[in-house]
């Protein structure tokens, strides 16, 4: 209960402040929050949610999941093999340095303007934090744990699944958390470039047709979406890594 109050406290205050300050606004581009909220209900009907939010969500999830799988798989391989690490690390550093939005026009050339392009853009942006954190996490696995696994004949896939991945999981989760916010940003950006539906596309459409309150309502929806996703992520992480949080609270107490 108290935690909920802490979580919601600041957002409520900010919204209230926005509401009060914007109440008498005459500025065409910054309408009163009351009008934005009013348009929110009108704009985001079930049809619209289906037509625009679902496609966005699907691209987001597809890109994010793909990036996570690729990032973790490559990360484990690179983290476990010194030779591979020496070979690919400079290349990775180069690709990582490229801001993903720059690639949208390039990827459009190859992948067109369909869902494929957007998913590729999201994958390209999200894979780095997952990959690099996985490599780091795998490299930092306790040598005693690895020795234990070897001494007890735990090798091959079981070693990766039962020892390496769980040991690296806190670090992997940190990468996944960073990747999630990048995924949302790239989803919107790729839809703003070229799309026929989606949240980013709709917001740009509203802006071009001077439907300003509707545009603002879209931005609020985007914020809510991001908030909900990160909340989900935290819940999932808290469950999967409950051993880690427990372990940390124990070692801190000592």
């Amino acid at each position: 209960m108290k935690r909920l109050a802490y979580v919601l406290g600041l957002p409520v205050v900010l919204f209230a402040a926005w509401f009060v300050i914007s109440a008498g606004s005459e500025n065409f581009y910054a309408p009163p929050l009351s009008r934005i909220l009013e348009s929110f209900g009108r704009t985001w009907t079930l049809d619209r949610l289906q037509a625009d939010v679902l496609p966005s969500l699907w691209r987001l999830i597809a890109g994010y999941v793909l990036a996570s799988v690729i990032g973790v798989a490559l990360g484990v391989a690179i983290g476990l093999s010194r030779g591979l690490r020496a070979t690919v690390e400079p290349v990775l550093e180069f690709f990582r340095a490229i801001p993903p939005p720059v690639l949208v026009p390039v990827i459009m050339l190859f992948a067109g303007i369909g869902d494929g392009m957007k998913i590729i853009v999201i994958v390209f942006g999200c894979v780095w934090p997952v990959l690099l954190n996985t490599v780091e996490g795998v490299r930092a696995v306790d040598s005693v744990q690895l020795d234990t696994a070897r001494a007890y004949g735990i090798g091959g896939p079981a070693r990766i699944r039962q020892v390496v991945l769980p040991a690296a999981s806190p670090q992997i989760a940190a990468g996944l958390r960073q990747a999630l916010s990048i995924a949302i940003i790239l989803m919107v950006i790729s839809e703003m470039f070229a799309a026929s539906n989606g949240l980013g596309f709709t917001i740009v459409q509203f802006q071009r047709s001077f439907a300003i309150p509707e545009m603002w309502s879209g931005i609020i929806l985007l914020g809510l979406l991001g908030f909900a996703l990160s909340l989900l992520f935290r819940l999932a992480e808290g469950w999967v890594l409950r051993w880690y949080h427990g372990l940390r609270s124990v070692t801190k107490g000592r």
């Binding site: 005693v144 234990t148 001494a151 007890y152 020892v163 051993w243 070692t251």
Partner: protein, 271 residues
């Protein structure tokens, strides 16, 4: 039977100044000893003399630089299924993301044992170390002594013919330590496994072992061996007060002192 013949291990690590190349640490110079099937042998030696290195060579986790190790007649060149190890760092050798049960069971799953057999072995092992009822706890929720019991249970459930223990009780309090020592002797007597128990504690070595092998300080060789002719039924109070115990202890202590002096007089002319 465990045989160690002329074992030598030199660690090569890249020197800090790249050009000078490698820096070498001779952890073990020349070790030869045997542990008969079903015997409990304690190995004592000062800190840093290479006890862990020796165990890692026996367990097949480390390639010796010379000499050989054989287990039941076969030369060791990798981890063998007939051997279980209890590590010095018990806290780091248990997997914190698994429950106590899963920690003990994981090696058995790798052995492809059927489910019923695994359940049975896990239950028996935890029972034997006095941890029945903690199956679903995480290791880090337990005290240090209990964690070490989990590590022992994992080794016991593995049904090894040889059990290696690397200073398993160095980090627990005295009372727990006494209990765990008795536990090791009881398990050894019940299971009939060959045990090589490593410690830096002379009292512990004499109390536990049928035989004590003493290592010199680095560069490490076998300094001496002594048979512990104390009765098989030992208990903390009476055994430790036995005049024979005191005599053996004194002998081991003297040998280790001699080894240290020997090392010093050897090193002196060189410097």
């Amino acid at each position: 039977m465990l045989e160690v013949q002329g074992l030598r291990k030199v660690y090569k690590s890249a020197g800090r100044s790249g050009r000078s190349g490698q820096r070498e640490v001779e952890a073990l110079r020349d070790l030869t000893f045997t542990v008969d099937t079903g015997e409990l042998v304690c190995l004592v030696g000062p800190s840093g003399c290479g006890k862990t290195t020796l165990l890692r060579c026996i367990a097949g986790l480390l390639e010796p630089s010379g000499g050989k190790v054989s287990l039941d007649g076969r030369e060791v060149n990798g981890p063998s299924p007939g051997l279980a190890m209890v590590f010095q760092e018990y806290g780091r050798s248990l997997f914190p993301w698994m429950s106590v049960r899963d920690n003990v069971e994981l090696p058995l799953r790798q052995k492809k044992l059927p489910r019923e057999r695994r359940v049975e072995l896990v239950e028996q092992a935890l029972e034997a170390v006095g941890l029945a009822g903690t199956e679903s706890a995480f290791p880090w929720q337990l005290s240090g002594g209990m964690q070490q019991r989990v590590a022992i249970a994992r080794a016991v459930a593995y049904e090894p013919s040889t059990l290696l223990m690397d200073e398993p009780f160095a980090a627990v309090d005295a009372q727990t330590r006494a209990d765990l020592e008795d536990l090791v002797r009881a398990l050894w007597q019940r299971l009939g496994v060959t045990v090589l128990f490593i410690t830096h504690d002379i009292d512990e070595a004499v109390y536990l072992g049928q035989r004590v092998v003493m290592l010199s300080s680095s560069p490490t060789v076998v300094q001496d061996e002594v048979t512990v002719d104390l009765p098989a039924d030992r208990d903390q109070l009476h055994t430790r007060a036995d005049p024979r115990f005191t005599a053996l202890r004194t002998h081991v202590y003297e040998q280790i002192q001699a080894a240290k002096l020997g090392a010093v007089s050897q090193a002196a002319p060189r410097s």
